[in-house]
Subunit: 126 residues, 2 copies
Amino acid sequence: HVPRVIDIMDRRFIPIDEESPIKVAAETLLKDETNHLPVVNKKGQLVGIVTTYDVSKAVARPGNKTCVRDIMTKKVITTNPDEAVDVAIQKLERHNISALAVVDRENKVVAMLTAIALGKLFEQRW
Amino acid sequence: HVPRVIDIMDRRFIPIDEESPIKVAAETLLKDETNHLPVVNKKGQLVGIVTTYDVSKAVARPGNKTCVRDIMTKKVITTNPDEAVDVAIQKLERHNISALAVVDRENKVVAMLTAIALGKLFEQRW
Ligand SMILES: C[S@@+](CC[C@H](N)C(=O)[O-])C[C@H]1O[C@@H](n2cnc3c(N)ncnc32)[C@H](O)[C@@H]1O
Ligand SMILES: C[S@@+](CC[C@H](N)C(=O)[O-])C[C@H]1O[C@@H](n2cnc3c(N)ncnc32)[C@H](O)[C@@H]1O
């Protein structure tokens, strides 16, 4: 049985709107104790991802950035619940990222897969 | 053979001084494309950890914080090269963190262990 994304993904996540101010993104990241927020449109479809790295980058290089759209990554690397975990791991490594948005066929976000979730696969192994 | 931290830890890391301004921490995180920096004293011993989460928290709750010491976590969860990976994973999960500082017997930082490095263990499995 090759583990799939559905076996370790996290269905509990907080989405954010691209019009939200950067400060609201920072407050949401803090409240949810996470480093990644999927950015979604009114229909729940993925339009970007904003992370603590992006907020920190805005501190390193202040400009006239005011909302999530100004600092988010628009080309999101995604996965889906049926994808094999080792394929998802290759995506994380290739792009030097620590989370993938898990989307359905309509590009709606259904979960997040973070690198820390890989630990769940070890509990059964040793 | 139970995998140990030494099998997957990352010896390439950038330490930072606790007197550094927050903006310098943000620039260092950006330059190294990482989310975690060990904070060390003049002897290279661990005194804290500062992450993109801490920089983002300073954006969410601005105060008169000016340097790394004002925002870093002082009680760092650590590991050592000989520790079994499943023990290190439990530390990550129990504290909801995504990196451990790897220290030697004199509390000097020798490497970082990030959650994304867990992926290395899968390359041999499937
Ligand atoms: C390249 S990583 C480097 C920092 C660190 N290694 C990490 O894992 O977050 C940081 C950048 O990746 C972007 N990012 C994070 N997850 C992503 C994903 N699933 N797809 C596309 N970009 C992503 C963030 O928006 C941020 O600009
Ligand atoms: C509790 S985590 C929550 C965010 C996210 N889940 C993550 O993995 O970073 C964020 C906090 O953990 C702290 N932290 C990160 N790595 C740590 C470590 N090895 N020991 C102690 N605190 C750590 C950071 O300084 C930051 O204040």
